[in-house]
């Protein structure tokens, strides 16, 4: 491993951002980390240089560029993405797409060596004509009904253009599947932690998870080493949705698709936003990614899909019974 220089992390408060900081500082306390976020995270390590940046502001690109130049950052890790759905479409677009664009432009201006962006295999989209394993070359078709997925697809398209314009900067995109583990939480985790889980009647797609440790490990490896390109970051193995739920002893509420879609449309269009629009399509069709390229680059994941899931449910059980 060559010395990475100063690492700047956007979205320090996000799960991936904060876990990456912890990992990097554990590895060696000499690493200089610059954190950018909307507000200072609670109990931030004093070794981290913190800067308040609001990526939704129109001039945030020059602000980020200033910070990067001032701190002489060489690696930028962009993890400032929502893990929670929002009904506010405009805000979502401002943060995810335009915010990422600001970060990209700032990186180009500050001439950083490496840009690492966290993405998701959800961007391939649940389509009936997906092959069983989606490789990185597969087009990102997204989900037409989900604005958050569409925004993330736009981010990847912008990144692709940005890569062509900035050939000197290495770009690494990590597309991870649904994360499970002892401490991670988002709307997917909340869906799966319900005692009674609604499911589409007659559909039982194969699912693929990754453990949070493996996900952070891949992010850390991509931050410290040269791995230009796009990688699927997924666990080994697949499991049918119904097996996943039954292994955890959950009760399954199978509902015909028209009824379930109607039931979830109204709350998700309102302010509750949970689960987001189009979520149940991800429990309808296949969108399993081929992780071979990622495993070759970042090493074999410690947890398989099944083990990631078991790790998640066992910690949930311990919490419930204390």
């Amino acid at each position: 491993m060559n010395s990475p220089g100063v690492i700047a992390i956007t979205g320090l408060g996000s799960f991936l951002g904060s876990s990456l900081v912890k990992r990097l500082l554990q590895r060696s306390p000499d690493i200089r980390i610059v954190g950018l976020d909307l507000r200072r995270p609670f109990r931030l390590d004093p070794l981290v240089q913190f800067h308040t940046v609001d990526l939704t502001e129109p001039t945030s690109d020059s602000r980020v560029a200033e910070v990067l130049a001032e701190e002489r950052a060489e690696v930028v890790v962009h993890t400032a993405f929502r893990s929670e759905p929002t009904a506010d479409r405009e805000m979502d677009h401002e943060l995810e797409t335009i915010g990422s664009l600001h970060v990209m432009n700032a990186c180009a201006a500050a001439k950083v060596k490496r840009l690492v962006v966290s993405s998701s295999t959800m961007l391939y989209g649940p389509w009936p004509d997906n092959p069983n394993f989606l490789t990185e070359q597969h087009p990102l078709r997204g989900h037409p009904g989900s604005h958050s997925v569409s925004n993330r697809v736009q981010v990847e398209l912008l990144l692709e253009k940005w890569r062509l314009r900035n050939p000197d900067t290495e770009l690494t995109v990590l597309r991870n599947c649904w994360i499970f583990g002892p401490s991670y939480s988002d709307h997917v985790v909340r869906y799966f932690s319900r005692p009674i889980v609604p499911k589409l009647m007659g559909y039982d797609p194969l699912m693929q998870f990754i453990h949070e440790d493996d996900c952070v490990h891949a992010l850390e490896t991509a931050t410290l080493n040269r791995h230009p390109g796009v990688f699927n970051v997924v666990g080994r193995g697949v499991l049918p949705l119904s097996t996943i739920l039954r292994v955890a002893g959950k009760r399954i509420l199978s509902m015909p698709s028209p009824i379930l879609y109607r039931m979830t449309d109204y709350p998700s269009q309102g302010q509750t936003g949970d689960p987001p629009e189009g979520f149940y399509d991800y429990l309808r069709y296949l969108w399993v990614a081929d992780g071979q390229r990622g495993w070759d680059a970042f090493g074999e994941p410690i947890y398989t899909t099944r083990e990631a899931w078991m790790s998640f449910i066992s910690t949930r059980r311990m919490r419930r019974y204390r």
């Binding site: 004509d129 092959p131 394993f133 589409l200 007659g202 559909y203 193995g237 049918p240 039954r246 002893g249």
Partner: protein, 327 residues
Amino acid sequence: MSDEIDLDTQVGAESSDVLSAELREALDGLRDEIRSRFPVRQRAPVETIDWMALAQQIQRRLSTLGMSERSGEVDEFGMDEIVLRRARPLLDLLYERYWRVDLHGIDRLPDTSPCLLVANRSGLLPYDGLMVSHAIWRRRANQRPRFMVADWLITLPFVQPFLAQLGGVRACRENAERLIRSGASVLVFPEGQKGAAKVFRERYRLKRFGRGGVVRVALETRVPIVPIGIVGAEEAHPILFKWHAPARAAGLPFLPVTPTFPLFGPFGFLPLPTKWVIRIGEPISIDHLAPDAASDELLISRMNEDLRSKVQTLIDTGLSDRGSVWE
């Protein structure tokens, strides 16, 4: 002395009897008085049901109900060994008794190396794929060819979970190549949906074999192509004509009208017990071709047509050998 004592005790007993009777009476009165003045609410004995325990018990039963017939792990295309083991008696019944399948030419199949099996498609539900796969597995325990299923069928609700567990895979090049590279044989039906939708008078006349995707997969993965002719399956679901209007509402490509369906409702979906003959032909080796042959369109088209005629010959042999549809 003894008399006196006797007498004495008798008297004493008598008087104490009277006394205790009076006392008991007074006490009873007092008790009644107390009871009437301070009534004690009598609680009827309630049979306590531990609802929580019952609910937990039911929940445990329900949640483990589905797990007994499936394994916790599936292979990467969703095939489930336990489901297959449990389905084996049914598949054997279909194979031995219902369609009385005859298998010819199993020795022509490569022993261990994967190959690309190419057969004629018939019937809406993929019974033919299941039967060929089962036939080969009965003779070669280490080999269970995965059969490819058309898009609309593998995403059809209620059908999709079962097909995946029994070894069905969505028909596309990526899947076929991945399966072959992992060492599994793959059974494909290049006619595709056109084959499944053949009406009765077109039976056993092969449709176009796609655009040569099968040959391309074989050239990419360098495995031999084995032609297979299935005779009998095309009469199991004799489609008289196709009915388009109601099918569009249900998202199906068309609604088949057979002698039994939709006349007898869901029972009409039962295939007819015709006699099946599966003929495995001589493998077509591609070892003599250069690795860059996959880009030679004319070669692919010629090989594709050659493959089609080989499958057609196998079918024709089977047809001329058999006496009737049922025997």
